[in-house]
């Protein structure tokens, strides 16, 4: 054993570069694997995880306190299908005065009396202050992204007591807007009792959940249940935007995993194969075959286990900003505190990657195990297959400069290893292609309609918790804004809720008036509205209401009604939103004024200066600059980071192949130098050999990446129920593809450059010695 260890150590020392590369490759690919697996895992069920963590209620039910006593409710909840219960809690609906808006609360809030944030169901996260323990104290439901700056302020309830805000708690399920002690709740005249239920069969459909609730209400008076909701609606709403990323993250994850595993396999088995001659020598001096295998496994395991451990740590660090990035925004954002790298991901990385390394080392090591010492020693110089030789002969006779043709022949001398390297480059090129395509799509998606204006001036401002209305009327404001220096176009916008015949849901009708009522780059089908009585809508709206471009619908509001025709389909995620002419809007709501004015500035005009001027002109205006689109930034940013990581892994794999090739061919190299090959020619030869693989890799990888993009993008759009205009999906043009074809070559050449130059600089005497 001692001999094995000592030999392995000596071998590692003699192959420092190779050992470093193995450690680096395992490091980067384990990091990529952790991020990829972590993202796949988090993206697959972000809501379910957060929900399970908080032990969220599958059913939230409210009962009439007059019809069912607390004791009766507690008894009724004891059913075989019910896994856990919280409550009954007294629940009051409280109307708030206008100035309570500063707490981010609505006008009508639900206050629940609860003694404890930790219950069997709906565990609340008290993230600031403390829980309410005395009458007169209140805890508000607010998520961690908010500032806790209202702590200690008072909330005056018109019909009752003054409550001091003592804490902020967050519950994903939104079972209340505020919590007080049960005693305090009783003083608020609660009309209902809240029961929170977790069912044993919690993952099932709405019907099953309702059936579970029915077993509870069976023994209660028929009219006791006043309201009930299941968690499925919440899940639908929250998961929506994270769901849009799922196919994209999955694609990246799968790509990341395959690149990592392939490269590791490539690097490790290559390292063993290139040691065959060394193995032969070990055998000839009396190492048993078992000892030889042990030497090689030790040599490989030490750097790779080290690399895996560091890589897993790096992956965990890297994943954090990624998650914050991906899970952001109004709905999915509430998840970002709860998503994290699952323990199984780390387990897989820490056990799986070394296992891959050892397996990759074991296969060739076992081959060496069986091989006779003499064959192992000559493994480097065995005659090769006929086809490879024919290629060399062709190349030797070609008019290409000899270093180039020699380099082109090199991959054929080691077909097995070249195939593995090729696979690495193919995956690298596919990744780069896929990611840049996706980034282009997302960029165009995020910027659609953004060129239309530089800032939005909202009507109404807030100062010290009081709302300030503009001094000017609508028309005057429009003219005022158009007259400020720098303004080029001003477009007013109003939204109004209207009913639609045949639909239970209210529809949001948006009307625009002014210089730019249409956003042409959002159009996916038909045309933009031109006259009163015409509207455009998103595909989600059309699908949900069974409509098509050309259909007519009736809009209603306050006794008025208008027939409108759908003339176009636009890219719009909001399934309740339709856009029509200003006159259509006013016909339904004659008193409705704009809520905002969109302003496009003259080229070169200062948006900040314009915003200041607008505010100075009327204190009741709130100008907001059109900022960068954070969702697009997320995807573009993460695509860039993942692409870089995977391209790095692929380049390292190529790098390693060149290091090994150089090593295998040291003697040839020494001879070539002895007959006058210059250092530059050596570099050209080595780089050419990899550029061949790079070119071939691009040829295969780029179409693969394009195919991946074609597959993933429509699924992403489907997930959020929008249709993308073709200029967003058809991102591939000949020059872009040619550029991408270069990507593979660049990956290969970058990987080859360092070892190639190193090989070029070796002195020939050194190379020829001891061979």
């Amino acid at each position: 054993m001692r001999a094995v260890w000592r030999t392995a150590r000596a071998a590692v020392r003699r192959r420092l570069l190779q050992t470093t590369v193995i450690a680096l490759v395992t490091l980067t690919s384990t990091a990529a694997l952790v991020v990829a697996l972590g993202l796949v895992d988090a993206a697959s069920a972000p809501f379910d995880k957060a929900f399970a963590q908080q032990r969220g209620p599958h059913v939230v039910a409210s009962f009439d306190r007059a019809a069912a006593s607390d004791a009766a409710l507690a008894r009724a909840a004891r059913q075989p299908g019910v896994e856990a219960v919280a409550g009954p809690y007294p629940e009051a609906s409280v109307a708030l005065p206008q100035d309570a808006m500063t707490f981010g609360l609505g006008r009508q809030i639900t206050v629940v009396g609860r003694a404890d944030p930790d219950a069997d169901v709906d565990r609340l996260d008290v993230w600031a202050g403390r829980w309410a323990t005395r009458p007169g104290e209140v805890v508000l439901n607010r998520d961690r992204d908010w500032a806790p700056d209202d702590l200690g302020k008072t909330l005056t309830i018109p019909s009752g007591p003054r409550l001091t805000v003592v804490g902020f708690a967050y519950g994903l399920s939104g079972t209340a807007d505020a919590w007080v002690t049960p005693g305090q709740a009783d003083a608020l005249a609660p009309r209902a009792s809240q029961l929170l239920l977790r069912l044993t069969d919690g993952t099932s459909s709405e019907d099953r959940l309702r059936a579970g609730l029915a077993t509870v209400t069976e023994e209660l008076p028929a009219d006791a249940l006043t309201a009930a909701r299941t968690y499925l609606g919440l899940k639908e709403r929250v998961s929506g935007s994270a769901r849009a990323y799922t196919p994209y993250l999955m694609a990246f994850g799968v790509l990341g995993i395959s690149v990592s595993v392939l490269i590791i396999g490539n690097v490790v088995s290559g390292a063993v194969i290139s040691g065959f001659r060394h193995i032969g020598v070990l055998k000839s001096i009396g190492f048993t075959p078992g000892q030889v295998v042990a030497v090689y496994l030790t040599m490989i395991s030490v750097p790779s286990v080290l690399g895996c451990a560091l890589g897993a740590a790096a992956g965990n660090l890297l994943a954090r900003p990624f998650f914050d990035f991906v899970f952001s925004g109004p709905d999915a954002g509430i998840l970002h505190g709860s998503v994290s790298i699952a323990p199984w991901v780390n387990a897989v990385a820490l056990l799986g990657m070394p296992a891959v390394c050892v397996l990759a080392a074991l296969a060739p090591a076992l081959r060496a195990h069986r091989m006779s010492a003499a064959r192992a020693i000559s493994a480097g110089s065995a005659p090769r297959a006929g086809r490879a030789l024919a290629v060399q002969r062709r190349l030797a006779g070609s008019p290409l400069p000899r270093p180039v043709s020699l380099g082109m022949g090199l991959p054929f001398a080691r077909p097995g290893r070249s195939a593995l390297t090729l696979a690495a480059v193919v995956l690298g090129a596919a990744t780069v292609t896929f990611a840049t395509g996706l980034a282009t799509t997302m960029d165009r998606f995020g910027n659609a309609g953004r060129g239309a204006y530089d800032l939005t001036v909202y009507v109404g401002a807030h100062e010290d918790g009081r709302e300030i209305r503009p001094e000017h009327g609508d028309r005057a404001l429009h003219e005022l804004l158009a007259g400020l220096p720098g303004a080029r176009e001003v477009t007013a916008r109003a939204d109004v809720e209207v009913g639609m015949a045949g639909s239970a849901q209210e529809v949001m009708l948006e009307g625009r008036r002014g210089d730019r009522p249409r956003l042409d780059d959002m159009l996916t089908d038909g045309r933009w509205h031109r006259a009163p009585g015409e509207i455009v809508a998103g595909s989600a709206f059309l699908r949900q209401n069974g409509l098509r471009v050309g259909d007519t619908v009736r809009l209603e509001r306050g006794g008025r009604s208008e027939r409108v025709r759908v003339v176009g389909e636009v890219m719009q995620t909001n399934s309740r939103m339709i856009v029509g002419d200003w006159r259509t809007l006013r016909a339904l709501a004659p008193d409705e004024d704009p809520i905002a004015y969109h302003v496009l500035l003259r080229p070169g005009a200062d948006a900040d200066a314009y915003a200041r001027a607008a505010r100075a002109a009327d204190r009741g205006l709130s100008p907001a600059l059109t900022g960068p689109n954070s969702v697009t930034q997320t995807v573009v940013g993460s695509a860039a980071a993942l692409t870089t990581l995977l391209a790095l892994v692929a380049a390292l794999g190529v790098f390693h192949t060149v290091v090994l090739n150089t090593r295998d061919r040291r003697r040839d190299l020494g001879m070539l130098k002895s007959i006058g090959m210059t250092p530059a020619q050596v570099t050209v030869m080595k780089v050419t050999s990899m550029a061949v693989l790079g070119a071939l890799g691009s040829l295969l990888g780029v179409p693969l990446g394009v195919a991946g993009h074609r597959m993933v993008v429509p699924r992403m759009a489907d997930a959020v129920d929008i249709t993308l205009p073709s200029y967003m999906t058809d991102v591939w043009q000949a020059p872009a593809l040619a550029g991408l074809a270069l990507a593979g070559i660049v990956i290969a050449v970058l990987g080859a450059l360092v070892p190639a130059r190193r090989a070029g600089r070796l002195t020939a005497a050194e190379v020829l010695r001891n061979e």
Binding site: S381, A382, P383, R384, A388, L389, Q392, R393, A396, G397, S398, P399, P401, R402, P403, L406, G409, F412, A413, R667, D668, G670, M671, L672, K673, S674, I675, G676, M677, T678, P679, A680, Q681, R761, T763, A764, A765, E766, L768, R769, E771
Partner: protein, 245 residues
């Protein structure tokens, strides 16, 4: 049976060019602690055949490497045909080796996946000679060296003696001023060794300057006009021999 005598026309510089081809002055070479060459001075004239002999590890290969421009001396000067090898850049060294040096190694150092002919043609192709022309020149050498029928074979299928003759052809490809051979018969059986030696003698007789490192005193006496004895990185003796009959 020995190979047919070689025609003069295959060579470049010959004995007719007079004066010293190689001039070493106080050459030292250190590898860390080890002193491989410890102040070697040597002069080799055009058309000479010099055998360098000595125990293993005494610095013979190092000496050859210095002359071949495969390595630079730590101190002293190596001048070959007026060029100070120690002062050349890596690139200039490569060009120097191309123009002036032909090398033969104990283990042939042929490229496995090139045919015998392409191995030899390679030496000319590196200088930019077109493939067709390089192969023609290589074929001429193959014929001169009596291995023309083996030109399309791959190294793995050649006998040791044939491989070494291919290596000699490669060394002669660029008409070098100096032919350097480091134990050229060390890996061959005695009959193949004799054949390679005969070839070197023939080459020298038509004017090729030759430096030969060998352990085999018999071969050295047959082939060289002068024997330089080496020990511990120093020249310990020198004697000129009568040309053998």
């Amino acid at each position: 049976m020995s190979a047919p005598p070689v025609r003069r026309s295959v060579l470049g510089m010959t004995a007719q060019d007079s004066g010293a081809v190689v001039q070493l002055d106080g050459v030292r070479k250190e590898y860390g602690e080890t002193t491989a060459l410890d102040g070697v001075s040597l002069r080799i004239g055009a058309g000479e055949a010099v055998a360098v002999m000595g125990p293993s590890g005494c610095g013979k290969s190092t000496l050859l490497n210095m002359i071949a421009g495969l390595d630079r001396p730590t101190a002293g000067s190596v001048v070959v045909q007026g060029e100070n090898v120690g002062e050349l850049s890596e690139k200039q060294l490569a060009l120097y080796r191309r123009r002036r040096i032909g090398m033969i190694f104990q283990f042939f150092n042929l490229i496995d996946d090139l045919s015998a002919l392409d191995n030899v043609a390679l030496a000319a192709q590196l200088t930019g000679t077109p493939a067709r022309q390089a192969r023609r020149r290589a074929l001429e050498l193959f014929e001169e060296l009596g291995i023309a029928d083996r030109r399309n074979a791959y190294p793995a299928l050649l006998s040791g003696g044939e491989r070494q003759r291919v290596a000699v052809a490669r060394a002669l490809m660029n008409r070098p001023a100096l032919l350097l051979a480091d134990e050229p018969t060390g890996a061959l059986d005695s009959r193949s060794g004799e054949q390679v030696m005969d070839l070197l003698i023939d080459l020298n007789q038509i004017g090729q300057t030759l430096i030969l490192v060998t352990h085999d005193e018999h071969l050295a006496r047959r082939c060289a006009g002068r024997i330089v004895e080496f020990a511990d990185g120093r020249v310990t003796g020198e004697h000129t021999l009568e040309p053998s009959a």
